[in-house]
Symmetry: C2
Subunit: 338 residues, 2 copies
DNA sequence: AATCTAAATACAATCGATTGGATTTTGTTA
DNA sequence: TAACAAAATCCAATCGATTGTATTTAGATT
């Protein structure tokens, strides 16, 4: 009673061979309906549950995809996971979720562990510390596919599923312009990060498109935490430039900036309008609610997962390495309603 | 090159037996230092990585704990997971995270899958749909321990790690009283749920302790979504009762209630003070920031994980079933500062 | 050098499921 | 009823690592 029943227990109980039991449980045409029924009934009776360790070992596949993200608590990542799971489950795949907590060491350990557990594929959004790619590059001549989503490394041969940050930045800026804003500042993030560079480029492109001249003094870079937004806003206002809008490269910094603005009794959006980026849940709750660029985590997850399944099923090794850009959507709220 | 190297490959390359390789890799004292070094060097050279499927199958343990939560995106749960992982990793255990998305069917499938993959233990916070416990009760005479955390089922024999909701409700109410409030309303949740009943009881106990009479008309029950809070507040004010505070059984409903209050230009906290429950991240960002009861997810996860490890290691089957209550902490913010 | 002990390593079974090939059973036809 | 094809079932090897037992080797002792 202590140990779980195996196919051998079922076989013995029925006086047949375990291979027949295995085939029956896998609904093989090599077993007749009648014996199948007997076996299924006995399996049920004994409370049999297939030992996936043994099954996977023998079959050399696990039907499992490993997912590594910086933190599951970030809304974007938990939506992405949702998208990944939905697609994977429909295809009969399991998903193992791991968080690196932005630490390279943990990320390395996690990747090693997933490989040791023989996942069939790896979806990863790397940590902020991941500047060294050895632990990922090692996968290149293995036959398990690796796909980056959102935060990627530039390793040729691997595929990426990324947000179209350029378009997001462009749309955000265009939205402000269409509201009549003519002096639009931009709070950007660390310029080493691709995503912030691209949002910035989108901003510049929209200005140019509308014949507004881009001016360096309208741009402030920071780590984009809430406090950074607050401080950037103070710096910006201190410049005494004409300003009627700010496009912040993320929501958090926009919230900080708005906080300072409200403290100065400057009207939002009438005097200064704001647009953020990411559509954090908090952005719809604050006052005024924040117009932002929704980067559908769900969709990016879904696409990444689909691509993964394709790569697993077609065994396309060596990997070709393609990059898919996911569209963004502007969500208009009160911080830019004029 | 395609297939991963095994201990047999290492053994063959060195002209020794695979059992010696296995022992060397597990740092057994039965292998001499010199051979160990040779083996380790060769393993490194070949890029050997232990096949956990085979290892776990043979050893009949996986060093893995399964965790099932309703959704990982909820702050409380992601903190709990953090707590679980931290403890588990230190003990050399892996954690598999799964979300039921509040669906019983998914929960059943997940539990089945985790068992099939032979996790060593199961930590679960059940879905809202989980009224039928068969899939969990089945674990009673298996030798893998099951522990509930936060949302539990009343199955004797299993252990629980729960929030002390009574104390939380008591503290929240006591805090308002100590601020001089005398007419304190309470927004409660579905009364079938243990947690809301207990918060309600804590509220009543605090009133009694302070010689304030409890009045039924000061209590409104709902599903506690933001919209519910908004509506409940309107209903409450319509009663034209003297009111100087509201203790809401969660943060979301408090936010909704405050929204309506602000719209009516009623001053918070001067005219009406608010206290929520859960300490959602958004609660510190809204204005005024919300005083709330912090139910440390991290701690509950840590304790649950520790209890799990104890049960796994001591193999204490049949399970005794104990219940641990986790303390809550009041976080004072502006919604109750007088 | 012969003998003995302890240390190091080799052998072989095992975990539970899968699967190609061999064997048996069943049913059909001459 | 003998012969045969097709259907059903059984046999045995396999996946990769672990581990109790057996064997070999090295070193010590007389």
């Amino acid at each position: 009673m202590n140990n779980k029943p195996t196919i051998h227990d079922i076989a013995k109980a029925l006086g047949i061979d375990s291979s027949t039991v295995s085939r029956a449980l896998n609904n093989s045409p090599r077993v007749t309906r009648a014996t199948k029924d007997k076996i299924l009934a006995k399996a049920e009776e004994l409370g049999y549950q297939r030992n996936m360790l043994a099954s996977n070992l023998r079959k050399n596949i696990t039907n499992t995809i490993g997912v590594v993200v910086p933190r599951i608590s970030r809304h974007f990542f938990s939506s992405a996971i949702q998208g990944i799971e939905e697609t994977a489950y429909l295809a009969g795949y399991n998903v193992i979720i791991c968080q690196s907590l932005e630490q390279l060491e943990r990320e390395k350990k996690i990747v090693g562990g997933l490989l040791a557990n023989r996942v069939d594929g790896l979806l990863i959004s790397v940590s902020m510390e991941t500047m060294n790619y050895d632990h990922l590059e090692a996968l290149k001549n293995s036959n398990i596919p690796l796909i980056f989503f959102d935060r990627h490394c530039d390793i040729p041969g691997f595929s990426n599923v990324l947000i179209d940050d350029f378009k997001g930045g462009y749309d955000a800026t265009q939205h402000l312009i269409s509201k009549g804003c003519k002096h639009i500042a931009h709070f950007s993030g660390p310029q080493e990060l691709e995503i912030y560079k691209n949002r910035f480029e989108g901003y510049k492109a929209a200005l140019k498109k509308n014949n507004l001249t881009f001016k360096e003094e309208y741009v402030i870079s920071s780590r984009l935490m809430e406090q950074d937004g607050y401080i950037s806003m103070r710096k910006l206002l201190a410049k005494k430039l004409p300003i009627d809008a700010v496009f912040c490269a993320n929501d958090l910094s926009a919230i900080g900036a708005m906080k300072h603005t409200k403290e100065l009794q400057i009207k939002i959006p009438d005097a200064i309008a704001f647009v953020g980026f990411s559509n954090e849940p908090v952005s719809s709750v604050i006052e005024p609610s924040l117009t932002t660029i929704d980067q559908s985590g769900f969709e990016i997850g879904k696409i990444a997962s689909e691509l993964m399944l394709k790569q697993i099923l077609t065994k396309e090794t060596p990997q070709k390495g393609q990059t898919i850009l996911i569209d963004t959507h502007l969500i208009e709220r009160n911080s830019s309603k004029k």
